[in-house]
Symmetry: C2
Subunit: 270 residues, 2 copies
Amino acid sequence: MRTAYYISDGTAITAEVFGNALLSLFPLQLKHKTIPFVETEEHAYKVLEQISESFQDSGERPLVFYTIVNVDVRKIVSRSVGINYNFLDQFVAPLEKVLGVPSKPEKHRTHSIHETTYDIRIEAVNYALANDDGSNLKEYGNADIILVGVSRSGKTPTSLYLALQYGIKAANYPFTEDDMGDMLKLPPALKRYKDKMFGLTIHPERLHQIRSERRANSRYASMQQCRMELREVENLYRREKIPFLNSTRFSVEEISAKILAETGLQRRKY
Amino acid sequence: MRTAYYISDGTAITAEVFGNALLSLFPLQLKHKTIPFVETEEHAYKVLEQISESFQDSGERPLVFYTIVNVDVRKIVSRSVGINYNFLDQFVAPLEKVLGVPSKPEKHRTHSIHETTYDIRIEAVNYALANDDGSNLKEYGNADIILVGVSRSGKTPTSLYLALQYGIKAANYPFTEDDMGDMLKLPPALKRYKDKMFGLTIHPERLHQIRSERRANSRYASMQQCRMELREVENLYRREKIPFLNSTRFSVEEISAKILAETGLQRRKY
């Protein structure tokens, strides 16, 4: 099997994202291998050997996606026996022309620590944890967004993703059966934060499946219960004009991107 | 100020990562604007208008990074007045030659839901939450890795990042003063999991600063206490041969990439 290498003197996340996006266009199985922090010539020579070996083992030239700031290290990697994609580089000279300024490659550390945004992200993670599952209504005034929905509709992973990727403070509040007497109403303590709310919903079958993995054959996991809870929250969203989306067919990345697009919420980190 | 647009009929994460990496090479301030889920021609025309407006407002041609699977939508966006980078596309034809197979653009949804890996990630997030801060030693047998370190050395954000990005189950265990009598020793319950442990440490000044933001002027936050705790954990790491790294100058992305590189831990999602 052919190997795709993602190599960098940083995290190699950019190379991974670019290479993966490109390779996902092809109906092929590949081995993936990330080699981050290749910061010395010695390390670069070891990488060359590794690439040669996987060529010999598989008989197929590896694909090598790399972004390397250090010129000497980069030169070595660019001599690999693989098919080499220094994919950022070819855009640099044309962009210098457009922008009218020379590039400054020493600044190229997209996934490294940036003091202004770093603390913001960690603070947002701590906020999401402290305000997970309706645990802390007192702090909702500080929320950028409050995700609401029934148990297991995707609130917690989404709030953590929003925090880690974008530095957004997301609280989340679960509507439980206790809130649903005759009809689900917004708990009084939540009402004042209605403008920050974003609802999640999910197909009853999928919810039933997820809940069954946690508590098989429980009332909590039953189709009847799932249907009832979802009907109540969707009615509430419509009645109270809370924007919402159905998370069933979406990844955490997609749910988060949709929330940002729909609410206009500003990320603190790009 | 010039605007950089990141546009896609998916999340636009690939366009953001690529565009950001390229632009980070330039010492310039730009406005960033992501427009995900441009799935209709109507939406594409609205995007064109928006790009025109920001050209008129700033007098500088916007940069437009886009990946769009739908051909009709793509054609419209490619006619924007901005400087258009359909940055994946130029690699496709040469790669088709190399791989000997035609591309299948309908598969291009890198950040969408993949059933096999999706559940794995959510399960890993749930695992990280249930095993945060030493809360659940019973489940350590199921951990892929156990992050150890003093309070506020970066364990929790790292374990959540490992879960969300890679589907890795990371528990984390805080060494507290209670563990440090004369000398910090591995708690007996942890000993059997030593091979899964990875240590974090941090500069005392930085730890003092972080803890002071949480509990100003406390003993917990004092330089003396921070120094003592860090000395004890670093001694323990060396004595027990637990691999470790100093998180002070690294982002969550960098810490995670370093952990994967050093331990050889396999990610469940690429």
